[in-house]
Amino acid sequence: MAGSAASGRKRSKIAPYLMCLPALAYLFIFFVIPLFTLLKTSLSVNTGSVFLPKLEFQWQWSNYHSAFNDYSSQITRSFVYAGIATLISLALAYPLAYYIAFKAGRAKNFMLGLVILPFFVTFLVRTLAWKTLLSDDGAVVHFLTTIHLIPGEGRILSTSWGVINGLVYNFLPFMVLPIYVSLEKIDLRLIEAARDLYSSSRRAFLKVVLPLSLPGVFAGTLLTFIPASGDFINAEYLGSTQTTVIGTVIEKQFLVVKDYPTAAALSFVLMAIILVMVLTYSRVLGTEDLV
């Protein structure tokens, strides 16, 4: 990057700020400020009616108390589902990303195209397709009962596994792509050097490839875990009333019950938990370079 620093000098000093300003201002107004209005809502009381809510701000911390108490099972469920889905995604995505980065040869672009192809069918329609696939008389259940992985009268749709499968499926490309990018960036000479120094291929993988791909793993797990923990579509379409998650509650409270303070408090709880987890996780993995 030395070259870019040198040529940067020729430009005016304020140019980069001017180029950043519109986007940053936009994000400030429509991302940062809404977080404050959300916080304010979460500490307010509804003094109007259900049909015509009138919010009054008064440091109503009890909103948080009731949000935690009333919906703790949904909160736990969301993070358990998201956690399991993330682990499964990682197990599926790493081999695929590795294969595309190092072994695919001419098929590389084709395979990358296949990875992003699901994005071109609406999220909801994809999830509905799983409703068909996982139905009680569908192919997946039939296959799994045949190999006795699930009992004869077993089902997947309307269970936790149905929801987890939906989460894995819908966010898998977000796991594959960052891992692929980090693998692709690896200087092949490093692996060559490891092999020259009589490292076995497994050792070369564990000592060279894997550590260098960790930033991708980090980004991928976040891009999977975070949307998965807030998602409610998979729980709604592929689960049952037994699988409601925190997203379901937020949606219903905001848009159906119109209990804005509770809904806002729940949103904030969700974000706070994610933030703590992400910070802990980044400490453990020791990566600052997200992208």
């Binding site: 070259g3 870019s4 040529s7 940067g8 020729k10 980069p16 700020y17 180029m19 950043c20 986007a23 940053l24 994000l27 429509f30 991302f31 809404p34 209005t37 959300l38 081999p95 590795y98 595309i100 072994k103 672009n109 084709f110 296949l114 990875v115 992003i116 192809l117 071109f120 069918v121 609406t122 999220f123 909801l124 509905l128 409703k131 068909t132 696939l133 139905s135 499926y169 898998l172 490309p173 990018v181 200087d187 060559e192 092999r195 291929s201 949307p227 923990s229 807030g230 998602d231 409610f232 937020i250 949606e251 905001f254 848009l255 804005y260 809904a263 904030f268 969700l270 974000m271 992208v291």
Partner: protein, 289 residues
């Protein structure tokens, strides 16, 4: 990418004959490892692919009742009248309109940031980088609901405009990061060359910088268009009475799912594949010249 030729097959689990001579037994295991890896990779792609096949197949279904969820028999009925439901068609039009407008805005805003980040050094750069990533780390319910509280506070009624505002918000980061990633490794000395030859910065920007980053911009635009078309949760919170394609689908889940939903999804899918194919062919041709 010059290094790709240095190692015969980039074959890390397997043998690399010129470099060392691994024991025979290892070679064997390497081959099995390779084979397993290939199997897993294609199996995962298959997994990603299956629901898409279901969608295409079910667009040819003649469902019993209102819900197109179980196979009955083959029919061309839905394909012969894909725009049978005006509300569905309108919803799709709205989605395309939202995606087009928000993509244009987000691409302009995001590209400028990306160029500033890659091409210049300035104080606070790391902060800008971080700030761009943060919206990606917030779950969609939080983004959607927080925007709704803003609009409620401002007494704005939600609708087409608020949907577009919301979409641009999540697209900016994707655009900036995509363009940034794409333009990182370029030979920027071309810019210096241009200026050395007497072009002013503006001319250099339009004649050298912009052509270099256009492929990155196109990729970013395609990504954010797709993200906009696909978005349900954020849109749901800020839509008011406006109905996009995903919102229509969501209400149809309760009221009745016509096969036309799958027909339109298949059309979008085919159009996307065609675009991808054209892009790939174009790139390949340019690489050959």
């Amino acid at each position: 990418m010059t290094m790709a030729g240095a190692i015969p097959e980039a074959d890390f689990f397997g043998e690399t004959p010129a470099l060392s001579e691994p024991p025979k037994e290892k070679k064997q295991r390497g081959r099995i490892g390779d084979w397993v890896l290939r199997l897993v990779a294609w199996w995962v792609l298959f997994y990603l692919f299956v629901p898409l096949v279901v969608i295409v197949v079910f667009s040819f279904n003649a469902p019993v009742g209102k819900f197109n969820l179980t196979w009955h028999h083959f029919s061309l009925e839905a394909w012969s009248d894909p725009f049978k439901y005006p509300q569905l068609t309108d919803a799709l039009k709205t989605s395309l309109q939202v995606a087009a407008i928000s993509t244009v805005i987000a691409v302009v805003l995001g590209t400028f940031v990306a160029i500033a980040l890659v091409r210049t050094r300035f104080r606070g750069q790391e902060g800008v980088n971080l700030f761009l990533v943060i919206p990606l780390t917030a779950p969609e319910v939080v983004l959607g609901s927080s925007l709704l509280t803003l609009f409620l506070g401002l007494h704005w009624s939600t609708g087409l405009t608020t949907i577009i505002i919301a979409h641009v918000m999540f697209q900016i980061s994707f655009v900036a990061l995509t363009v940034k990633a794409r333009v990182r490794g370029f030979d920027w000395t071309l810019e210096d060359a241009s200026m050395d030859l007497g072009a002013n910065p503006t001319r250099t920007f339009f004649k050298v910088t912009l052509p270099l980053i256009v492929p990155g911009i196109i990729a970013a635009a395609m990504l954010s268009f797709a993200l906009s078309l696909d978005d349900f949760i954020i849109t749901y919170f800020n839509s008011g009475s406006t109905v996009t394609y995903p919102l229509y689908v969501n209400s149809a889940v309760k009221a009745g799912l016509p096969p036309q939903i799958d027909v339109l999804a298949t059309m979008i899918l085919i159009a996307s594949i065609a675009l991808l194919a054209i892009g790939t062919l174009y790139r390949r041709r340019r690489a050959e010249v």
